[in-house]
């Protein structure tokens, strides 16, 4: 639905503060609440559209599809449902794009596809993205929104952590920049691999970022964690982030930072 087709009185309720927002304005604000600043999760293709020059995105590896290496109970069905819902083959979209004219290799995960989890296809696509960035010597950018490794592919998922981390190592050794953007949520196996290895790490305000889920820690340790535990702001205070950048500024920040690294 195009912005000019949305009636002026259609409203959207903010997940953050519950305020009723005019849908058109909310969309124009990139799905950020004008009251409380809540950043709604973006599907991969909206994220890509937001970041790159109009029409500049050329998808890579769209043909890659997941298999069921373990014959894991229920995986087939969950995957198919996710595919029907998102029109994606798996939880990650990668390709070439331009940001303010500069060619980049850009990847984004889609939380709506099985929690944006990283199985073989996600890992393979990120690895190919990083390898192509190296080959073409263009900076790589990933935007994560993920619950971590995909349980249903078992060890195959765990291996994607090593695979993508190794690909980052090669890219950085070749002095090609890699910027990791963390959007809500960025946790577990993805956060503990390539997403934590950016030359620069940028988060969206309020994004949940961590390794072990707060609930698991609370149950295991029998403690109560503060409300802002593992928020982007918490991670900034603990030295894990370079910047917290609101969505509206993300694209220009990426362009400027790449310019400072490369020009």
């Amino acid at each position: 639905m195009r912005l000019d087709e949305i009636p002026d009185d259609l409203m959207t309720k903010c997940d953050g503060c519950g305020a009723l927002l005019v849908t058109k304005s909310w969309l124009r604000d990139f799905k950020v609440c004008s009251r409380c600043g809540h950043h709604t999760r973006l599907p991969a293709h909206e994220r890509i559209e937001l970041l790159c020059d109009d029409g500049s995105f050329e998808e890579w590896e769209a043909h890659l599809a997941p298999r069921d290496p373990l014959g894991f109970p229920g995986y087939e069905g969950k995957r198919t449902a996710a595919q029907l819902k998102t029109h994606l083959k798996d939880s990650c979209v990668v390709g070439r794009a331009r940001i303010e004219g500069r060619p980049v290799a850009l990847g984004a995960s889609d939380f709506a596809f099985m929690g944006g989890s990283m199985g073989s296809v996600f890992g393979e696509k990120i690895t190919r993205l990083l390898e192509r960035a190296l080959h073409e010597r263009i900076p790589a950018i990933t935007v994560t929104s993920t619950g971590g490794a995909r349980m249903q592919e078992g060890l195959m998922s765990l291996m994607q952590m090593a695979k993508t981390s190794a690909a980052v190592a090669r890219l950085q050794a070749a002095r090609v920049p890699f910027i990791s953007v963390l959007s809500d949520p960025s946790t577990a196996g993805v956060q503990a691999s390539f997403a934590s290895l950016g030359d620069l790490i940028i988060a969206e305000p309020g994004a949940l970022i961590g390794f072990t889920g707060a609930r698991v820690i609370e149950q295991t340790m029998k403690i109560k964690l503060p409300k802002d535990f593992q928020s982007a702001e918490f991670q900034m205070a603990h030295g894990q982030l370079d910047m917290i950048v609101p969505r509206a500024k993300l694209r220009e920040t990426l362009a400027q930072t790449l310019g400072l690294l490369l020009d």
Partner: protein, 332 residues
């Protein structure tokens, strides 16, 4: 006494107790009970065969977590003629859940890193059950970089239920530490041999498991998630861990089939803890063979092959044109 043994070992332990009893009796009463004892020994052997030849995945998890299972320092003590433990990350602390140091193994100087669990309650807490905190992984990284500088190969003993699950680990960047270790290991210009000796669970395991050769002891397990945690998510019931252990394909045999490891190191009948000497003999041979082969490769070749090793892993519909598919298609 039985609490130190697994339920699956119960028949075995009962026979063993009978043998002990007969032996004591023979001495006390000065009787010849050797026939009876021999028959019990036969029964014991048969029971062992019976129990251990076909463990279920969940039983393997139990074996991997066996309270008597040998830990990194047990292997190091048995395999190395010299050992100097190195401590600290030089920035925050010394994590006792990780051991790191320099050792001499079969005449060869090596660096060793590994998880270390505790044997009694106090040591278990001190070692945080083998769950590494960021400073432990950073200690391992420091020692690996030292190894690279002085061209020592690295042996990594993996045995962990996962990385530290504490607010402090999150505050000090456990994600970053796990990620960084993988990055560093992927580029380290010396041979790296991984041995999963017990539990190889989740990010805490892969943080120490990027290497040229990955071996698993016969009754260890390797998994992206703890079976209990998987059951909580999958069946909303952590007690269904047995089913999820099955579903996750976490045995050494599964990992070998998926090309995730190169080698299964056989354990003595009854498991590593029943005969540490024999276990170390077998493991020592496997390690020596791997180190000898890998040491013949020039560093850049080693690093390139290591990259390709992990690069090939994944179950997807379409293999990349520039990467040869492994001989056995992974995951089938």
């Amino acid at each position: 006494m039985l609490s130190r043994w697994l339920p699956l070992e119960k028949p075995l332990v009962e026979i063993e107790e009978q043998i002990e009893e007969l032996k004591r009796l023979a001495v006390r009463e000065n009787m010849d009970l050797s026939d009876k004892i021999a028959r019990l020994e036969d029964r014991k052997r048969a029971a062992m065969q019976d129990i251990f030849q076909d463990l279920t995945p969940w039983e393997k998890v139990q074996m991997a977590r066996h309270p008597k299972r040998p830990y990194a320092l047990d292997y190091i003590g048995a395999l190395c003629s010299e050992w100097v433990e190195l401590r600290g990350d030089r920035a925050y602390g010394d994590d006792r859940a990780i051991v790191a140091g320099l050792g001499r193994f079969n005449g060869r100087a090596v660096a060793i890193i590994g998880n270390q669990k505790g044997r009694d309650t106090k040591e278990r807490q001190e070692r945080n059950f083998g769950q590494a905190s960021p400073e432990g992984l950073r200690k391992a990284q420091r020692v690996m970089e030292l190894a690279a500088r002085y061209k020592r190969p690295v042996i990594s003993f993996v045995d962990t239920p996962g990385a530290a699950c504490t607010p402090e680990a999150e505050e000090r960047g456990i994600s970053e530490a796990i990620a960084r270790n993988q990055l560093v290991m992927s580029q380290l210009p010396v041979p790296i041999v991984i041995v999963i000796t017990g539990e190889g669970c989740s990010g805490g395991a892969i943080a120490l498991a990027v290497g040229d050769r990955v071996m698993m002891l016969e009754h260890s397990y390797y998994s992206v998630i703890a079976p209990e945690a998987c059951a909580s998510i999958l069946y909303r019931d952590p007690t269904k861990a047995e089913d999820s252990a099955e579903a996750l394909k976490i045995t050494a045999q599964d990992a070998l089939r998926m090309n995730v490891i190169e080698e299964i190191v056989p354990e003595p009948l009854g498991g590593a803890h029943r005969n540490l000497g024999r276990m170390c003999l077998t493991l020592g041979e496997a390690l020596d063979r791997a180190l000898s082969e890998l040491s013949a490769l020039p560093p850049h070749e080693l690093v390139e092959r290591r990259y390709r090793r992990f690069r090939c892993l994944g179950a997807i519909e379409d293999y990349p044109p520039d990467v040869a598919a492994p001989q056995d298609t992974p995951g089938e």
